[in-house]
């Protein structure tokens, strides 16, 4: 090693810092709804019925606002079947516009081909993934 370069940091340096935690999560899993149009026997979240306490559109947007302030990079949206929420696509647009990327899991049953195509194209630009 050339004399003018400092010795490499110990391999544990960064992992040691992680023990103190990060300033915020890197990503979050968000179950927007437990409602589902299918009844898969293997469903891990026992979804099917909509929880009457699920967040309203405005409440979801406030969560996104908070995630933006925390600089959480993206959310993994599942459920339930998130596209059953009539505000799902609006929430997706709202998140991306507020610099919170969205990845979501869907059974695809309620996603029109044109909508899916648009989401993929938008994802290439703004960080969503389907």
């Amino acid at each position: 090693m050339p004399a003018d370069q400092p010795p490499p940091a110990p391999a544990t340096a960064l992992t040691g810092q992680f023990k103190a935690g990060l300033s915020a999560p890197i990503c979050l899993t968000w179950e927007l709804t437990y409602a589902c149009n299918l009844q898969c026997v293997h469903c891990l979240s026992a979804s099917g019925r909509r929880d009457p306490r699920e967040l309203s559109t405005q409440e979801c947007m406030r969560v996104v606002d908070e995630l933006e302030r925390m600089q959480v990079f993206y959310v993994n949206i599942g459920g339930g079947e998130p596209t059953l929420r009539p505000d799902f696509w609006d929430l997706l647009d709202y998140s991306v516009a507020h610099h919170v990327g969205v990845k979501f899991s869907t059974n695809g049953d309620c996603v029109a081909p044109r909508r899916a195509h648009a989401a993929v194209i938008k994802g290439q630009r703004a960080g969503e993934a389907v």
Binding site: D4, A13, L14, Q17, S23, I26, F73, Y74, R125, A129
Partner: protein, 88 residues
């Protein structure tokens, strides 16, 4: 990808940079890759890239000692490979 210290670079607009005690976390919304900036000085360099005519200018403005420039050039090259920074 090698980095040309005489050329201008910038933080990719699709990248979010979040300060952390060790430096910063970097997330690319396009390719969805997460990267680490392992020192605060490297964070300063990356932030200064867009306002300087060359990467060397950013290194100089950030106060990186000349002896450490090869290390920083390697770090910037890795960031260019992962599209965190790009030539402008």
């Amino acid at each position: 990808m090698a980095i040309d210290l005489h050329c201008p670079y910038r933080l990719n607009p699709a990248v979010a940079l979040r300060p952390e005690p060790f430096g910063a976390l970097v997330y690319h919304f396009g390719n969805r890759r997460l990267s680490f900036l392992k020192t605060r000085q490297l964070v300063t360099v990356v932030r200064l890239l867009a306002s300087h005519d060359s990467a060397a200018g950013a290194l100089d403005a950030a106060g990186v000692p000349a002896g450490q420039w090869p290390r920083y050039a390697a770090a910037l090259a890795a960031l260019a490979d992962s599209e965190v920074i790009d030539a402008r």
